[in-house]
Symmetry: C2
C-alpha cells in the first residue's frame, strides 16, 4: 500500500521545485505513472488540506504548505496508508480450544500495529524539506563522480 505514498511524495516535491500549478498529466509524466492514479492520490491530499486544486483550463494542483512544515506523517495520514500490513493471519478463531491458536492472530495484529506506529513516529520527524535535501545531495554526488 505504499506505492500511493511514493506518488504523493514525488508529486509534492516536484510541485515545490516547479513552484507553479501543475496538471495531473504533467505530474504523471514526471512520476512515470498515469494521470488517473495521480488524481486519485491528489484528491486525498486535497481533502487533508495539503494541496489546492482547480478544475478547468489552466487548472491543476498547488501545494499549500512550505516543505519544511510538511511532516511526512501527514502525507501518510492523508492517504490512510499503512507501512506494515497485518497481512496473513494464522487462523483458528477465538474459541478453538488452544490458547496459542486462538490468541496468536490478535497478538500478531498488535505487533504489526506496533511496528506501523514505529514507522509513523519516524515519519513524524522528517519533513518534505529533508527529502529534498537528500535529493540535492544525491544529484551532487552523481555530478561529482561523473568523471571517475
Amino acid at each position: 500500500m505504499n506505492g500511493l505514498f511514493c506518488v504523493a511524495v514525488h508529486a509534492l516535491v516536484y510541485l515545490d521545485k516547479r513552484g507553479c500549478m501543475l496538471s495531473s498529466e504533467e505530474l504523471a509524466a514526471n512520476i512515470c505513472t498515469n494521470p488517473a492514479r495521480v488524481r486519485k492520490v491528489m484528491a486525498k491530499l486535497k481533502k487533508a488540506g495539503l494541496v489546492s486544486t482547480k478544475a478547468g483550463t489552466e487548472g491543476g494542483y498547488h501545494p499549500l504548505l512550505p516543505p519544511g512544515d510538511l511532516r511526512l506523517e501527514r502525507i501518510a495520514d492523508a492517504l490512510e496508508v499503512r507501512f506494515v500490513e497485518p497481512a496473513w493471519h494464522s487462523g483458528g478463531g477465538v474459541d478453538c480450544g488452544c490458547m496459542v491458536a486462538s490468541g496468536m492472530a490478535g497478538v500478531m495484529d498488535g505487533l504489526f500495529d506496533d511496528l506501523d506506529r514505529q514507522c509513523r513516529l519516524r515519519l513524524s520527524r522528517l519533513t518534505l524539506a529533508d527529502l529534498e535535501a537528500q535529493l540535492e545531495r544525491a544529484a551532487a554526488g552523481r555530478e561529482g563522480s561523473d568523471g571517475l
Copy 2:
C-alpha cells in the same frame, strides 16, 4: 512478506508450549496452514540455528533456545524478511534530465530502508517470551469476561 514471519513465530511459541518434538503436520494444524509451508519456514529457522530437526519416524522440530533468549529480530533475520517493502518505484532512470525524477527512487528506497530498520530495532527489544506473556493476558481477559 510477513506471513512467513507469522508462521515462524506461531510455530516457535507452540513448540515451546508443548515442550516436545512436533512434526510439520501437527504444527500446520495448529497454525491453520499447510505442512509444506511450515517445512519451508522451519528449514530456514534450522539454518539459523533456532531449531533442530530430525527426519524419519518420530521426527520433527525442536526449539534450541529458551523463549526469553530469543529476540524476534533473529527470527526476521533467519527468514530474510522485510517489514517495509520498497514496492513500487516512481521510475525514470538516473539520467532522465530531471533531478526529482532521477533521484526520487533512490531517496524513497533509502526512506523505506530506514523504516524497516526502525521495525527491526523494535523487534530486537522483544523476545518470544514477551509474546507468550501477551498471549496469557489475552486468554485471561477472555476468561474473565466470559460471563459479561
